[in-house]
């Protein structure tokens, strides 16, 4: 198995083999002016691959099930059909979809607040203060951060079961709030953006350790607060496995798990769906509703993204 992820490395370190270079040198290839259309074509093809399903989803919500099958897949249905889908969807089990959306909002918002309260001071302390155990904590953070959170879902269930928290919303909010990647982002930010001398000056001027954090570091921390907030929000809003296991009652589902329940009620996907059936355009509309908050955040957060994802590179 390890060969699977090591295989790219040898080809990447290929430049060491110099002779191959001269053999490959073909003068005259891709000369400026003689434009090769292939790159543009490839980029366009992938743009279609990434965007087409989203566009289709937007349009599907405006159609009837019949139009979905027989009309052009990329045609607009009608506002009337959209309205009808909306009414049918919100009528599903008496507004259940809205309850799911509200659950998602509550879980992600509370987790977001706790995450920020926990992560910002921790990152600050790891970057700019000395204390016994600092290095150990940093390494532990890195290792846990690289491990996918799904690994611990079943063990978390056992733990929550032991403390009788199964079915409580805190059984997902608290694990959501444990966000080592956020600590790492804050650590990188504080160790690069705030010079230690600034804090020394604050301490000499009589600031306590907490005062230095509150008056010097915190006002400068807005970029990393936004960054951690963004990643935490997206990760928790789109989480499926954890709430699926820890919240057994369907009025507690976040909207992601709710989508699975709706799917079960679509006769085309589940012939035994029964009387509470959901039409496919309604499922498409529900999917749209489920992703809208994340899409909105994406639009506003564009400029943070690259900075955040590249956080590791600024350190070396």
């Amino acid at each position: 198995m390890p060969t699977d992820f090591r295989s790219p490395a040898p080809s990447a370190s290929a430049p060491a083999t110099a002779p191959a270079a001269s053999r490959r040198a073909r003068p005259g290839r891709a000369r400026p002016g003689l434009k090769n259309p292939l790159p543009a074509f490839v980029l366009l093809l992938f743009a279609v691959f990434f965007v087409l399903p989203v566009v289709w989803l937007l349009l599907a919500a405006t159609k009837t099930d019949d139009q979905l099958v027989h009309a052009n897949p990329l045609s607009f249905g009608s506002l009337h059909a959209l309205r009808a889908n909306w009414d049918a969807l919100t009528g599903y089990q008496g507004d259940t979809v809205m309850v799911w959306l509200r659950n998602s909002a509550v879980y992600t918002f509370l987790a977001l607040v706790i995450t920020l309260v926990v992560v910002i001071p921790a990152g600050y302390a790891l970057a700019l203060t000395e204390f016994p155990g600092r290095h150990t904590l940093l390494v532990a953070t890195l290792v846990v951060m690289l491990m996918p959170s799904a690994t611990l879902v079943v063990p978390l269930f056992l733990e929550m079961n032991a403390v009788h928290l199964i079915g409580s919303m805190w059984s997902v909010i608290l694990p959501y709030s444990f966000y080592p990647f956020g600590v790492y982002l804050a650590y990188i930010y504080f160790s690069t953006a705030i010079p230690r001398s600034l804090l020394e000056a604050a301490r000499l001027d009589g600031c306590s350790e907490f005062g230095a954090f509150r008056r010097v570091a915190l006002p400068l921390a807005m970029p990393v607060v936004a960054l951690v907030g963004f990643f935490s929000f997206v990760a928790n809003w789109t989480n499926y496995f954890l709430p699926y296991v820890l919240l057994p009652q369907d009025d507690q589902f976040p909207v992601q798990v709710g989508l699975g329940t709706l799917l079960d009620s679509v006769p085309q996907f589940n012939p035994t769906a029964g009387t509470l059936s959901v039409e496919r355009p309604e499922l498409a509309l529900a999917t749209l509703l489920a992703i809208t908050p994340v899409l909105v955040v994406f639009l506003f957060a564009q400029r943070f993204l690259v900075a955040g994802m590249l956080a590791g590179a600024t350190k070396d």
């Binding site: 990434f50 203060t129 890195l142 798990v257 564009q302 590249l310």
Partner: protein, 304 residues
């Protein structure tokens, strides 16, 4: 005399301050450490405890592990996940690096930025939403690419989700939602390469292909490894895609497809938390080893 007294007073103050700072440092990380223990260490310990005991809380040795390994669903699940990982990692490396290089060469900054954003949009549909979308896209009766599916010989949804093709389908879904973010990362890393180096290569007669192969890709190397490690660790956890697909296909796509599904089934269908914990421990170990090797060997986190 006065100087040494002042020094002594100074060093005492410094020592006091250091002690204070140490305490303050602990204060700042206290909440995080509590969460780390409660949701990192304790569940891990719990999983290990359950994996090595029986339902009657007696020591079980490796019997839970052999029990899981001997289950008729276990080896197929390992095979499925391995095949999926191979497809997923190869496609990720080839296409993400390739697309990032192409985007980086685009003369128009505006077009490049727009494309990067478009590639990233499906990231908003991570999780169940992406599976919903792809259930539709893969259903020849409603798909916007029905002509493609039909050209490939698929006329019904059940044909498309036949077990043999599932690693490809899960790769498609994972790539669709995840590649855009990695393209942003690679693009950013390409931007960090000094233009002087690229200029020097150009003067020496290197074309775009050579520049990419001899300069850019080697300089992206640690990012590629980083991506592979995270994708590998995440890929072993495959759950939501096969789970929803098995719902939607009435069990055509097996509900015991991946290891995480198997762990879930042991715990909640077979009421056998000990075997479930054994599978969890194996997955944990896999993730832990990948992460530890990366932290120790890559030089990626040499920050400290």
């Amino acid at each position: 005399m006065t100087i040494s007294a002042r020094n002594r007073a100074g060093s005492e103050r410094a020592a006091r301050r250091a002690l204070w700072a140490g305490r303050a440092g602990h204060g700042f990380v206290a909440l995080y450490v509590v969460l780390l223990i409660a949701f990192g260490v304790v569940p891990t310990a719990y999983a290990i405890y359950f994996a090595f005991t029986t339902a009657g809380d007696t020591f079980a040795g490796f019997s839970n592990f052999t029990g899981a390994g001997g289950d008729f669903r276990f080896l197929p699940a390992v095979g499925h996940v391995a095949l999926y990982l191979a497809c997923w990692l190869v496609s990720l490396v080839v296409f993400v690096v390739g697309l990032a290089l192409l985007l980086h060469r685009l003369a128009s900054r505006g077009v490049s930025k727009t494309l990067r954003f478009l590639f990233y949009i499906p990231g908003a549909l991570a999780g169940a939403a992406s599976v919903m979308v792809w259930l539709f896209v893969l259903d020849p009766t409603v798909s916007p690419v029905a002509f493609l599916l039909k050209a490939l010989g698929f006329t019904t949804f059940d044909q498309v989700v036949a077990p043999g093709g599932l690693p490809i389908l899960f790769t498609l879904i994972a790539f669709w939602t995840g590649a855009g973010g990695w393209i942003l990362v690679m693009y950013g890393a390409l931007n960090n390469i000094s233009p002087d180096i690229l200029e020097a290569a150009r003067i020496d007669g290197a074309g775009p292909w050579q520049t990419a192969r001899r300069i850019q890709i080697p300089m992206l190397r640690k990012w590629i490894v980083y991506m592979c490690i995270l994708a590998f660790a995440g890929g072993t956890q495959l759950f939501v895609e096969p789970e929803l697909l098995s719902q939607a296909s009435n069990g055509v796509a097996g509900r015991d497809y991946s290891l995480n599904q198997l762990s879930y089934d042991f715990a909640f269908q077979n009421n056998n938390v000990n075997t479930a914990a054994a599978v969890s421990v194996e997955l944990l170990l896999l993730g832990l080893v990948a992460a530890a090797v990366f932290v120790a060997r890559s030089g990626f986190f040499d920050a400290d």
